[in-house]
């Protein structure tokens, strides 16, 4: 017979792994949008009128 607590541990570990993967994905997305924004604006950032 299977041990229900053992399966809960496995499920919790899998959930934690998925949560970390989602967190890393979101952080990567934010960094990506930031970098793309800077590259697309390029020199225009420094050249804008004050």
């Amino acid at each position: 017979m299977s041990d229900p607590n053992r399966e809960d541990d496995a499920a919790a570990k899998a959930r934690k792994g998925r949560n970390i993967a989602i967190a890393l994905g979101l952080v990567a997305f934010v960094v990506l949008v930031y970098v793309v924004t800077v590259v697309r604006m390029g020199a225009s950032v420094a050249n804008r009128p004050f």
Partner: protein
């Protein structure tokens, strides 16, 4: 169908690796390779960071369409040895989750490509995802023996998207790269299906050997191979390939034709050979010729694109015979 499969195994636990598997990482790596070739061969240069973003978008778009494919095809995948261990038919991921992942990543890849690179490339990427997920997966695959011929367009478009990302357009040379992969697909997949056709028959997928028989498939492989080789050599006439490319495409093309001819003359795919059972790819009578062509087709395409990539990165002069 996918839901029922997943519900039959409620104890299964989805790990992040299962979601990664939904994206078919090996196919993604091939898509990255061909898209990068298109991007590098294009005459215009874009910012290297934006180029990397473009390749990322194409790779994620390919992964999204793979996830949609695995959601819809869970019933077929469950019947085939090669695919029954995939996350949805194995019950580790719910079909609805695979669908959601596919939709979210499709939107992400197309929108990012449009905003970061250009909207022409984004449009081509959206078309490619829709073509693979809807036209090929939902329609052609279950309906006609020409499924991989027409559906092959989805796999052939990444170099055009890469070219479009760099230039904002898609001239003849970009479509030549597309034509090479498009014409390469039928001999490649039919050679494979000649020794895995039992799996397709069991799943009810109308692959060419199942519908028309092995003899007709071998004949069509020969015809497509005869059409493929001149198209592979054509880039030296249009200012895309140089001397190295001419050598690789010409010599490799001769080997390709020789293997296709041997396959044409063989009895590959006609009868089971009980002496052999090597698991994933059983060797049927004469199927060694089919396996040789299948293996060489992968090497040939890889060499063609690697040579183009190397020539353009190293600045080798194209032959430009017709320019």
């Amino acid at each position: 169908m996918a839901m029922a499969t997943a519900q039959s195994n409620p104890r299964a636990i989805a790990r992040w690796q299962d979601f990664l598997q939904l994206l078919k990482p090996r196919v993604m790596s091939l898509v990255i390779f061909t898209a990068l070739t298109g991007l590098v061969c294009a005459p215009d240069r874009i910012n290297p960071i934006l180029a990397a973003v473009a390749v990322l978008c194409i790779a994620v778009g390919a992964g999204a369409s793979a996830s949609l494919n695995m959601w819809y095809d869970a019933d077929i995948d469950a019947k085939m040895r090669r695919t029954r261990g995939r996350p949805v038919p194995a019950g580790r991921v719910q079909g609805a989750d695979a669908l959601a992942l596919g939709i979210v990543l499709s939107l992400f890849s197309v929108m990012l490509m449009g905003m970061a690179v250009n909207w022409f490339a984004a449009g081509l990427l959206a078309f490619t995802i829709a073509f693979y997920a809807v036209v090929y997966t939902m329609w052609l695959k279950r309906w006609t023996a020409q499924n991989i011929v027409i559906g092959g367009l989805a796999g052939a478009l990444p170099p055009v998207i890469g070219w479009a990302a760099a230039t904002g357009g898609a001239p003849l040379n970009a479509w030549l790269l597309c034509a090479i992969i498009f014409m390469w697909t039928p001999p490649h997949f039919w050679a494979l299906s000649l020794y895995t056709s039992e799996d397709y028959a069991k799943a009810g997928v109308p692959m060419m050997p199942v519908v028309k028989g092995a003899s007709s498939t071998r004949r069509q492989i020969m015809i497509y191979s005869l059409l493929l080789v001149p198209i592979c050599i054509a880039p030296v006439l249009t200012g895309l390939g140089g001397v190295a490319y001419l050598a690789v495409s010409g010599l490799g093309g001769l080997v390709f034709l020789l293997l296709a001819w041997r396959l044409f003359r063989s009895h590959a795919g006609e009868a089971a050979d009980p002496r052999n059972d090597d698991g994933l790819y059983d060797v049927r009578a004469g199927a060694r010729d089919a396996r040789n062509l299948f293996a060489f087709s992968i090497l040939y395409l890889a060499l063609l694109f690697a040579t183009l990539l190397a020539e353009h990165l190293l600045g080798a002069a194209p032959l430009e015979l017709f320019r």
